[in-house]
């Protein structure tokens, strides 16, 4: 079914437009296409909608069976998570980490933001400078260096985390923001180099040469000519790095415990069959997901390009 409609899509695209337009009046294949796509959209959206809906239910209604479809939304879960309200006694008793009763979420959220921003600034600064050097200089060493950068992207995180944990432990970097930022450079820096190289290759060298003929130094040509032209690329790359750092769970789980702990391992700690905490899990998740969605949609045009590190233009 799917393949038939797809084949017809190909035919229709190549057919003269008049014919195509007449056929579009009613077309069974098109109707089927919309039905299937709608089905997939429902499949896509339902878990997200369910999460958001559950986050505004009363704690005891979250796991009610049969599920409540109509209810009065409440911000109780959000207030508890953000530390605006002391949780009701029922919740405090069942929470294993109950002590102060106040939610540690705001502090962890601040850590997430701090680490994501720190990673982005550092990776973008180091990486785009290197990317520029690898598009304009080092003609002979360039390919070797780029392959080297490529190989770093092929190292699974679990391979790196063991030595990084031991080394960070020796250097007292465990559970520090800087330690986590350094660990994030393992994926952020190669990513930025490859992404920015793609953007910088699109900027004609002639512009810089013209500036230098007019008396600008190499550095001035870089800062006054290349940098403004590369700004959209820098912005898109920055958003991708923020997303990568924001969504990380693996490194944060291992390298942080209290001081620099980010939100994802905290949310991961909700794994418990004590259903009573679900409301807070949902509210925390919704708060984390919102910026990710906004940022993600902002770069959706470059998404294929970004997710493949420049391998696909799109």
């Amino acid at each position: 079914m799917v393949a038939i409609s797809g084949a017809e899509a190909v035919r229709e695209r190549s057919a003269p437009t008049v014919v195509a337009r007449r056929r579009r009046k009613f077309n069974l294949g098109n109707a089927v296409a919309y039905v299937i796509l709608t089905g997939w959209m429902l499949f896509t959206l339902f878990p997200v909608a369910w999460l958001l809906m559950s986050s505004v239910k009363e704690p005891q209604d979250v796991f009610a069976m049969p599920p409540q479809w109509v209810f009065t939304p409440t911000l109780h879960n959000y207030e508890v998570v953000l530390g605006l309200t002391i949780p009701t006694e029922l919740e405090t008793v069942t929470e294993t980490t109950a002590g102060t009763g106040m939610s540690p979420f705001p502090r962890f959220l601040a850590n997430t933001v701090l680490v994501a921003v720190g990673t982005t600034v550092l990776a973008l600064g180091l990486g785009s400078a290197a990317a520029y050097a690898l598009t304009r200089f080092y003609p002979r060493q360039r390919n070797g260096l780029l392959i080297g950068v490529m190989i770093t992207r092929l190292v699974p995180p679990v391979v790196l985390i063991i030595p990084i944990y031991v080394i960070w432990r020796n250097f007292d970097l465990l559970d520090t923001h800087f330690g986590l930022i350094l660990a994030y450079l393992t994926f952020a820096l190669p990513f930025v180099i490859w992404m920015m190289r793609g953007f910088l290759l699109d900027i004609p060298v002639e512009l810089e040469e013209a500036a230098m003929i007019d008396g600008a130094s190499r550095l001035q040509a870089l800062t006054r000519v290349v940098l403004p032209l590369a700004a959209p690329g820098l912005a898109a790359t920055a958003i991708f790095v923020i997303l990568l750092a924001w969504n990380d769970f693996f490194y944060a789980l291992i390298l942080t415990s209290g001081n620099a702990r980010t939100v994802t391992p905290y949310i991961g700690g909700f794994i418990t069959d004590k259903a009573i905490l679900w409301g807070r899990l949902y509210a925390s998740s919704a708060i984390i997901m919102l910026p990710v969605l906004i940022f993600g949609l902002a770069v959706q045009k470059q998404l294929a390009h970004g997710l493949t590190g420049g391998a696909v233009k799109g």
């Binding site: 799917v2 896509t44 878990p47 995180p157 997710l307």
Partner: protein
Amino acid sequence: MEMPRPLARAVAAPQSRGWSIPDSWLPHLLLGPALLALAAVFAYPLLYSFWLSLNVYNLTRPPRFAGLDNYILIVQDPRVWESFAVSVQFAAISLALQLGLGLGLALLLARVVLFRGVIRTIIIIPLMLTPVILGLNWRLMLNLDWGIINYFIRLFGFPAINFVNDPNWAMAALVLVDVWHTTSFTVLVLSAGLASLPEEPFEAASIDGASGWQMLWYLTLPLLRPLFLVIVLFRSYELIRVYDIVFALTGGGPGRLTETISFHIFNRMFQGFQIGYASAISYVLFVLCLVWSIVIIKVVGTHGSQE
């Protein structure tokens, strides 16, 4: 850009051209810091890890050199190979489903005109979400007693399924979540490919009376082949390193049925503190990944030269 101020001034100052060293320094000043950073977070840890893999080390006592003992141990350790098998099984099933579903959805998406942008945006939403969160969300949705999925299953008169704890269903649950999460990656990449297909071969083929099926099979799919390889390369990497979703959904269980290789190494490391042994397994994983990517890139390369 991120250069320390004094350096930037030193480079910018000599416009007199009397002292031309800074301009020739610029490339090194640009590239050097990044290479140093990569050396610090990649080269050093990887070398250190290799040294660790030759030792018996549990963090409390100093490392004891053991030569290749850890590697010999791996060969005889069925748990390691079972985990590799779990990872390969998970990656293969998931990837096959994503390629099939992704191709179908991309072709449908290329066909529709009205609302195409909106549909595309909605389809790619899961791709952006935090993996550990969506894993937990699915875990709760698949819960035996209170999960919404089992509510629907009961509603239609079927017995509830213990997705996460039933040996027959745990892997399926994992695949389901991954398909939900990342099928849109395939859609995205193939859509980009479909949009840039040349029109001439299709016109020629339709003049020659080729059917839609024939054009799909003999034109569209071969033209998309480089993109399929890109998808296979990127997805297989993500699938082999998958950790967050396993952690959130099944925790490697029931038993060790969904204990992927990343999960296995992690457990060796942080539950058993078998640092040396875990390093050795991770090195084997690294080498296998390198070999796999060389194979894929070779395939891409030969294909490219044929074109």
